[in-house]
Symmetry: C2
Subunit: 210 residues, 2 copies
DNA sequence: GGGCGGGTTGTACCAAGGTACGATGGCAAA
DNA sequence: TTTGCCATCGTACCTTGGTACAACCCGCCC
């Protein structure tokens, strides 16, 4: 079962050409809830501007109420930020509401297959953000195993004394490691080191020591 | 043009059923380079175990050499970590090398369409990681505009003196803001505050003050 | 007007971070 | 064996971070 959810007649008509299966049309959030009560796992082509839905926020509630229903959200003006927010809520697809029928049909098939339908640009954006935050600073590779261990603990917010307790060594030893770490990485202090470890490092400014 | 790149005969035979267009088969990295010289924008079904490729690392080099060639990487044992690493290099799809022909054909069509083909699980993982790191700590909402400003700067690794310069106020003022910030957020020191701001906060431990 | 919150600044003080001299022992490569 | 790296620890010292007393000005609301 497929549910076409939009108050826009022209839009629904366009979408109607997409599915090769039974479908049902609703024009507001109340009707949508009714349809989902009957078929809780129906795939929903959901117009983001659906009356009563409440936009992005409302989709969070919808997802909680009907976690089994895959949502393909169609926006009149897709934006990356909007897309990201929606993806966080676990939607299965995000596309332009005025997408052509062939492409929409493809999206439906892909989602039925268990995959996710996202535009290349949005996907790229997601990946970029991820890598941007993921990649630890290369200078960390020069650290010894023990130093790396200390760096990791410091990057969680522990003070030298706590790190010493964790590693069962004296605070003096931790300081010694820290001096070496800061020297190698070029981080001026433990805060910058933490940012480096967490991937928020200032990649543009290479450390003096290699 | 489509390039099937694998040293495994059985695999290539399986893949052969996928495309509805001209294709060419290669069995090692050298042949692949030759084929790409002829058609630099060909879609490549790339077996990760291709001889001479060099695994994930090699793909980075391949991407740099042939940035126009969309890559659908097929792994014998797909793993999320591997997938993430590959996505960072800008590949356009990632799937199991023993995928059935129908699904592979779909992946090819999707990529041709300009979209990205990723398994639902990997995609979900990407999103989750993204949201996990994106969300700043809720206690930051209680900060005044000025305090937020200070917190942001501190979270970039600046010391009090530098923050003072940036905001054109005295260091004493920065300290005053910091005292208030740390009190409101419950962060014991500026490092923990930075982690909070950057979304690496210890969400499990709510601050004493609301 | 008076209270209140936000932004600003001063002096003093203590704790923590980080460095500068050191030192010792283990262990692996040359 | 010697050389070098790694891990460990001590004392002394300076810098920075953060708090505890303060104080003043401004805009807003009762």
């Amino acid at each position: 079962m497929l549910i076409l959810a939009s108050a826009n007649d022209a839009l629904r008509q366009r979408w109607r050409a997409a599915p090769d299966e039974d479908f049902q049309e609703v024009t507001n959030a109340t009707e949508l809830a009714g349809a989902l009560r009957a078929t809780p796992s129906a795939l929903v082509l959901l117009h983001l501007a659906l009356p009563g839905l409440g936009g992005v926020e409302g989709i969070g509630a919808l997802r909680e109420a009907w976690p089994d229903a895959p949502l393909l959200v169609l926006s009149d003006l897709p934006a990356e930020q909007e897309g990201r927010a929606l993806m966080r809520h676990g939607i299965r697809g995000y596309a332009n509401a005025h997408i052509n029928a062939r492409l929409l049909a493809k999206a439906v098939r892909v989602i039925r297959q268990g995959e996710v339908w996202v535009g290349r640009r949005l996907m790229q954006h997601l990946i970029e953000e991820l890598t941007h935050q993921e990649a630890p600073h290369p200078s960390l590779d020069t650290l010894t195993p023990r130093e790396r261990e200390v760096a990791e603990l410091v990057a969680t917010g522990l003070c030298n004394k706590r790190v010493a307790q964790r590693l069962a060594v004296s605070e003096r030893t931790v300081k010694a490691h820290m001096t070496s770490i800061l020297q190698k990485t070029g981080a001026g202090d433990r805060l910058v080191l933490a940012l480096l470890v967490k991937g928020h490092g200032l990649h543009g400014k290479p450390p003096p020591a290699g």
